[in-house]
């Protein structure tokens, strides 16, 4: 369903991706590992279409993603280093104005998503009053709310405590069971059954 | 000859114009060649580094 063929990418003088190919099928998660600077973020951003590839093709449902970017992005939930949260808005407001741009949301849905990442109902704190881990959880709630078939997440568990990591594992597993796909760059072990996991180590 | 150089009294404006243009024309040639040479040298340096690495 998602495949990358012969990806080449340079960052400055560094040949970061050298003819990388892989594919992910529905219901599976690809975990991208590698030492710092191996190009994990670069790879994920290139897959999303945020970085132009010098060579190679990324296919989604059999179509070249660079041809029909909008159709691909409509099914993509991306989480990068930035959480894209506004410090002056509460968690619920943040979700309403970010995930809400892409699909109509009810307040109940937002509350449900926030509850599933461990927020109490009616939490009115502003994002800037939250810890980094809590902000990460709100960002994960956004990924949930988008209801996209494909998740591409860069270090989703950064700053998360062990409980948060377990919660993320459950959410990811549920996503895969629904037939979703995920590409996750992280060092931590993902709490999902091994048969759903593919690994890609960048060197 | 002197008459020609005086350019009917316009020489203080005319000759600086020509000198400046000539200067820019020549400098552009020099800079262009220098930048090509620098690019070549850089490539050579990088190739040597690659060779010594492998």
């Amino acid at each position: 369903m998602f495949s990358a063929t012969n990806l080449h990418l340079w960052r400055g003088d560094l040949h970061v991706l050298r003819g990388l190919s892989f594919s992910v099928t529905a219901g599976y998660c690809l975990q991208v590992t590698g030492i710092n600077g191996a190009g994990k973020s670069t790879l994920l951003r290139a897959l999303c279409g945020l970085l132009p590839l010098e060579e190679g093709v990324v296919n989604w449902r059999g179509n070249d993603t660079s041809r029909d970017r909008h159709a691909f992005h409509a099914e993509l939930a991306w989480l990068g280093h930035g959480t894209a949260l506004k410090g002056d808005l509460s968690a619920a407001e943040n979700l309403r104005y970010s995930a809400g741009l892409r699909r109509t949301l009810s307040a109940a849905e937002i509350g449900h998503a926030l509850a599933s990442v461990g927020f109490a109902a009616g939490d009115q704190r502003l994002a800037r009053q939250m810890s980094a881990g809590q902000q990460r959880r709100v960002a994960l709630a956004r990924v949930l709310l988008l209801e996209c078939a494909l998740w591409i997440l860069d270090e989703p568990t950064a700053n998360l405590d062990s409980h948060g990591q377990a919660v993320f594992g459950q959410l990811l597993h549920a996503h895969l069971q629904r037939g979703g796909l995920a590409i996750v760059a992280t060092h931590q072990a993902l709490a999902i059954p091994g048969e759903r996991l593919q690994e890609l180590e960048l060197t | 000859m002197m008459h020609w150089l005086l350019m009917g009294g316009y020489w203080p404006y005319l000759w600086p114009s020509y000198v400046l243009t000539l200067l820019v024309v020549v400098l552009n040639v020099i800079f262009a060649r220098r930048s090509l040479r620098a690019a070549r040298a850089e490539v050579r340096r990088r190739l040597q580094m690659q060779r010594s690495h492998s």
């Binding site: 099914e75 002056d88 808005l89 | -």
Partner: protein, 228 residues
């Protein structure tokens, strides 16, 4: 099953968000207007307090101040959204980025351009313009500031995330703003002289329309490149 949001609704929601954010931090957005007034007040101090002589330089003072303060405000346009990853999310949202950036630019104009348009006529009278000229000055500043915001969005997109972006932004935007300055200045002069100002106003309107159609596309391309 999820109900997709139309691009129009998405743009509207984005505008609501930016407005709400701005209202929670009003100081930041009023600074360009204050700056505009300060620059205007420097002109009499640097030349003469005589209103009859100030009147001749009022159009120049208004437009130079408007240009400078809109430049100052431009840095706010994409900076925060670029830093926290919001622009990245918008770029992969499947919605037309040019449209979303147009929405953001509209809010930006409402917050920084409109206050300037509203105080502009008052500033003009302080420089010796007759009261009857106020509607004319208002109309010129309205059209001109819209065009400046749109042109500036391209520059803000190009300099997004660059170190020392501020000076570069000015260097990129100011030459592009020359036509706005010329027609705006001329129309203001005509307004102050209480003469018909259709010719420069038509040209200014043409520039505003042209930049409303082309600038968002260029800004979207610029933002995508800056996010790389």
């Amino acid at each position: 099953m999820s109900t997709p949001v139309s691009a129009v609704q998405a743009g509207y929601l984005l505008m609501r968000r930016d407005l709400r954010l701005a209202l929670r931090r009003p100081g930041e957005w009023l600074q360009p207007m204050v700056f505009f007034l300060v620059v205007i007040s420097l002109f009499p101090l640097a030349s003469t307090p005589e209103l009859s002589r100030l009147r001749d330089m009022a159009p120049a003072a208004l437009w130079v101040a408007a240009l400078l303060s809109s430049l100052l405000a431009l840095e706010l346009l994409f900076r925060e959204d670029g830093q926290d990853g919001t622009l990245e999310q918008l770029a992969v949202s499947g919605l037309p980025l040019a449209w979303l950036l147009l929405a953001k630019t509209c809010v930006h104009w409402l917050l920084t351009g409109l206050p300037l348009v509203l105080v502009g006529p008052l500033a003009a009278t302080a420089l010796g313009a007759p009261y009857a000229s106020m509607p004319g000055v208002l109309a010129v500043l309205l059209l001109g500031s819209v065009a400046l915001s749109l042109i500036g969005a391209v520059g803000a997109g190009l300099t997004l995330g660059l170190r020392r972006g501020g000076v570069l932004l000015a260097l990129l935007v100011l030459p592009l703003a020359v036509p706005v300055l010329i027609y705006g200045g001329r129309a203001t002069a005509l307004a102050i002289a209480l003469e018909p100002m259709t010719a420069p106003m038509d040209l200014l309107a043409a520039i505003a329309v042209l930049s409303a159609t082309l600038a968002p596309l260029a800004a979207a391309a610029a933002v995508r490149i800056s996010l790389e």
